[in-house]
Structure formats: structure tokens, C-alpha cells
Amino acid sequence: MTMVLETVAGAGVTGTLTLTVREARLLCPGVRHVVLTDEGGRALPTFTPGSHIAVNWAEGRHNSYSLTGPSIEPDHYAISVRLDENGHGGSRWVHDLQPGQTVRVSRPRSAFAPILNARHHILVAGGIGVTPMLSHVRAALEWGRSFEVIYSFRDRQGAHADELAALCGDRIVTVSTPEELREALLPKLGDQPLGTHVYTCGPAPMIAAVAEWARECGWPPGRVHSEAFGAGPLPEGNPFAAKLGRTGMIVPVPSGTSLLEALLDKGITVPNLCRQGVCGECRLSVRGGEVEHRDLFLTDEEKASGDSIMPCVSRAVGDRLELEL
């Protein structure tokens, strides 16, 4: 339903890209670097620094990984994945990838972008949290932005440490314990030009610690950023059934399919326009069942009354919804 601007691999913005593993190697113990390309050699969609892709590693299962390579119509996407022995299997799956294998990934999503009007950028990376910082640093160099990096990693196992050092020159400090990080960062947080922004990506305790130190130094929260995965498109949602009140017809709505799509597929006419929950065109009346409102159109009062639904994005809380149709 949406158009792609670039000449790129893949079907569209909402579709996935099918890429081929060009290279896969161990970057340092436990971290595997995987380079993906379009089989036809086409350029891939441009992305915003700090973007990630969702890698589809099993039916319905995705893991998000930051893109570490160049960002403007690149000829490849690169990710670096730490093996998580206690995870659900996604990182293990990536670690088993071999050159030539096909991988389905989402288009890049931006959730950790640099603030364009910042006077100075402090990038704080912890362990594998270094990955989104690579594209930040590349863009900062490209556009002459003022920046510095503090990279914290243990046991001399810093993924991309050499690459980052080469890019940053004297603008990087490496540390190996939370105490060292504190010693390196606190003086910087206490002495910055107005308009500096700090970005943290790493383990949750580290993100919390940096935010806490910044707060103590009087930083406004809007100047403190951290990587938050999962802020992309709406989740696929649970399956449910819609009962059409007038005819009694039952329309099943699978996970990942919108109520609107399910109705249209059955030949039921529902006026619609944006399919993003903003235009209000597809509003339907609800007779029964609880609505999980995910639109931006209905007011809070209308949502609370529960008698309307925007079927392009909203779903049922339970397994059944009865519509005035």
C-alpha cells in the first residue's frame, strides 16, 4: 500500500527484504558479524543513523539488530550479534548463518536517531551496545558534527573497538568497569556546552546509571537518549473473530491481519483511506466485546465508551468482537 522511493530490493515499506549472507565471521569471542546483500546487487534502502532491522529467524519470530555499516543507499547491511546462551534462539540462529544463506529482514527502522540541532553529541556504548554508535559516528564525521565516544567493554573484548578507534581518533575513551565509566563520564556531564545530547546503548543498568548521573548534573530529560528496541510498527496482535451483528456472519482475524483487511477480504465494504488510524474514514460501531484501541483518531472519551473501533489498526481484547455491520 505504500510506495518505495529508492530503487531497492524488496516489495515495499511494509514488506520485508530478502537478502543473502555475503560474509559471516567472528568479530571477537561471542560476537558474530554478518554482512547481508541483495542477490541482484541492487542498492539497499537508506537508513537513519542508529537504525535497526528485525531479522526473521523462525516463523513469527524476530530479533532486532542495529545496522553498523554505511547508511546511504548502501550495497550491504551489516549486523553484529552477541550470542545469548539464555535467549530464545535468535542469536544462536544468527551465529549459525553461513555465506550464501537467505535471510528475511524488515526494512530499517529508526528509533535512536541523532538530534540534528545538537551542539555536541556524547555517545556512551556498553558491550554490544556499541553497534548503533557506529552509524552515529559515521554520520557525525560525514556532516562534521561535534562528538565523542565512551566505550565500555570487559576483558579486552570490544566488538568493533579497532574500527571505532580508527574512525574516532582522539575522540574515543575506552573503559572496562562501571566505576571507570562513572569516572570518565561524570566530569563530561558536568561540563558541557548548552545543547549537548547524550546517547546511551548498553545493558539496562548502564542506561539507568547514565540517566541518573545526567539528572544529578542537571540535564533536562530531553537531552538524554537511550536505545529502545521495539518502538517500531504496532505488534501483530492476537487472533480473534468478528461477528457481524446484522447477518451473524463470523469473520476470523488472524494475528498480523487487521480487522479492516479481514473484512475487505470477505467482500465487506468498509470505506477507508489512511489505514494508519488517523483519518477516521473506516470507523465502525461496536455492539459487543472489548476493544484494544490503537488508533490516534478517537478521543479518550470515545475510546472509553467502547462503542466505536478503527478497524485498520485496533483489535479485540478478547477472542470475539460484535460489530454493527
Binding site: 546511504i72 538530534i115 540541532n117 554520520a139 494508519q276
Partner: protein
């Protein structure tokens, strides 16, 4: 087909019903929209028979008033991003006359319509004959505004607008999206602008949507900006006081097709504003359009007419349509 016929056939007639009110009327871009007279909207960028004429007009306006181009310092990457995205779009939509090729670190751009063959390095101003927005807006008929997203808001921090309908980009630059739309009547109580704002902030890279807006313009002037008000403001009075016979040729329905595109590298939101002008005589040549425009004008509340700047001209427009436009008495 004459050029008038083709202008009518490709005119984005903006009224789906007999009553017009503000709404968050966005839809996915790139899909053709059919009208009773033809269709429009198959492309994001529209090159038509007035390409050279409108580009010359833009150059004239920009030379006389360089403030029509604004780019706050932090928006330089977004301006380059916009230029490359527009070139990529032109190459995709007009492959017979436009091409963009990457050659190592440099890019090769070709525009046969203007006889341009140019190699540049992305981000290096010394390799372009003009700043990126000026360069690319010299090759498209659309006006461009770039919105930066930060602090949970959008900010109109760069752009090139020579064909403004009763507003001033130079005045608005640096304002937030909500501030820019502050004077629009009705849309705040109905939360239309907040909804549009939320929608825009959630646009994914590479996604593009479009909407239409409209007004009435006298004598088909593209530049009816605040800056040149002394030159065109009186036209509304001379039309209202002049002979009714002239209205069909002097009063134009002005449709803006606005594309909303998330730029992938900078994360900025790009607004493309393309202006189409059709004299009422041509509008009325399509009976359904004449009748509908009459009803829309008749119904339009006073505050909306005032904001659109058509308080003086809608009356004569309706009278002319009543006489020539298939309007039921």
C-alpha cells in the same frame, strides 16, 4: 488532446463531496486517483507541459527574493537527503529523461529536460552549482518544506517555497508544526492538527502519503505569498468589482497536492507542495465539477472562507458558476 484538455484530465479536483470541512485527509501516495474527467496521482513528482514555464517563474521569484529559500544550519544533511531522494524519485518515475547513478564516492545526475549532466559528491557543497534545495527545486515544479523531528515535535526548519498561497515560508521557518498551523480555524477543537502531527511523527522511512488542500486564486498567479501581497491583494477586489463575464477566466480553483515523505537518512519529514490552477471556465466544462464547486462554496462557513482568503471572491465565483456551471437553481 490539447494542453487545456490534458490539464483538465490531470487536475486533482479536491472535493469528494458537496461539503468541505477540514480533516486529516491523508492517503498512501503513488496510487492513481480517478476523477470524472480523468485521473491524477500516479507519481509523487508531476512534470507537465508547464515545466519550463514554472521553473522560470520560480527562478524569477527566487532571484528577486532569496529569502524564499531557508535552511537552518542543522538542516543541511536533510537538504542533501531531500535532494538525493527527489533525484531518485525523478529517475524512478521519469526513466526516459532522468537518471541517477552512483560512481564510487560520487553521484552522476542527468536531467534531459534541462540538458543537465552533473557529477557531485554527497554532502560536498563545492560540487553543486547551488545549495541542494535550490539546485533540485530548479528541476521540479513542487515547493519543498523540510520538518525536523525532535523533542516530540516537528519543526519547519528548511525549505524552498516560491508558490505559497497566502502565507510566508520566511515567516514560518523555525516554527513548530503546531505553531505554523495555529491560525487555521476549527482544526484545533477538532484535534485535526494534533492527529496529523502524531501521524507524521510515526511515518516510517521511505513511507509516503499525500493529501490535497485548496483555495481560489485570481488571475492564475502561482506566487500569492504574503511577501508579494501588495502586488496581488487588489486582484480580489478588482475581480469582485469587475464584470461577471470575466470571472470564468480570471478566477482559478487552486488545488495543492501535498506529499508527506519521511526522508531515510536525516529522518526529516519532507513536504512537497504542488500547485495546480484551473480557471472556473475549465472547471465548469466538467458539469459535475461546476455543480460541486458551487455547492462547496455556498456551504463554506465564514471563518473558513476568511482563512482561505476567499471572502471577496467566492460570491462572484458562485454567481459565475450559477450562470455557466450546470448549477440547479
Amino acid at each position: 488532446m490539447t494542453s487545456t484538455d490534458s490539464r483538465i484530465a490531470r487536475f486533482p479536483f479536491p472535493f469528494p463531496r458537496d461539503q468541505y470541512r477540514y480533516s486529516t485527509n491523508v492517503e498512501p501516495a503513488g496510487n492513481p486517483a480517478t476523477t470524472v474527467a480523468g485521473r491524477w496521482g500516479t507519481t509523487h513528482l508531476e512534470i507537465d507541459s508547464r515545466y519550463h514555464e514554472e521553473l522560470a517563474e520560480r527562478e524569477r521569484i527566487l532571484t528577486a527574493d532569496p529569502s524564499r529559500h531557508q535552511c537552518l544550519p542543522h538542516m543541511v544533511p536533510a537538504a542533501w537527503d531531500a535532494m538525493l531522494t527527489l533525484m531518485r524519485t525523478l529517475a524512478a518515475e521519469y526513466p526516459d529523461t532522468m537518471a541517477l547513478d552512483r560512481r564510487g564516492d560520487s553521484w552522476f545526475w542527468r536531467n534531459d529536460l534541462l540538458g543537465i549532466e552533473h557529477t557531485f559528491v554527497f554532502g560536498d557543497l563545492a560540487t553543486l552549482p547551488a545549495p541542494p534545495l535550490v539546485y533540485i527545486c530548479g528541476q521540479i515544479q513542487e515547493d519543498v518544506v523540510l520538518l525536523d523531528q525532535r523533542e516530540g515535535q516537528l519543526w519547519g526548519d528548511a525549505g524552498l517555497v516560491t508558490f505559497a498561497a497566502d502565507w510566508s515560508f520566511g515567516f514560518d521557518v523555525g516554527m513548530s508544526f503546531l505553531e505554523i498551523h495555529g491560525p487555521v480555524p476549527r482544526v484545533h477543537s477538532e484535534k485535526i492538527i494534533t492527529r496529523a502531527h502524531n501521524f507524521l511523527m510515526r511515518l516510517e522511512p521511505g513511507q509516503s502519503y499525500r493529501r490535497t488542500n485548496w483555495t481560489l486564486t485570481v488571475d492564475g498567479k502561482l506566487d500569492t505569498s504574503t511577501e508579494t501581497y501588495p502586488e496581488w491583494g487588489k486582484d480580489r477586489r478588482t475581480l469582485a468589482d469587475g464584470p461577471l463575464d470575466e470571472v470564468g477566466d480570471r478566477l482559478f480553483l487552486r488545488t495543492e497536492v501535498q506529499h508527506l515523505i519521511r526522508l531515510a537518512h536525516s529522518g526529516a519529514v519532507m513536504f512537497l507542495i504542488r500547485t495546480y490552477l484551473l480557471p472556473l471556465r475549465d472547471v465548469a466544462s466538467v458539469p459535475e465539477w461546476g455543480a460541486r464547486l458551487y455547492k462547496v462554496l455556498e456551504d463554506l462557513p465564514v471563518d473558513m472562507a476568511e482563512y482561505k482568503g476567499i471572502s471577496r471572491t467566492r460570491e462572484p465565483g458562485m454567481r459565475w458558476l450559477a450562470a455557466h456551471g450546470n448549477v440547479e437553481p
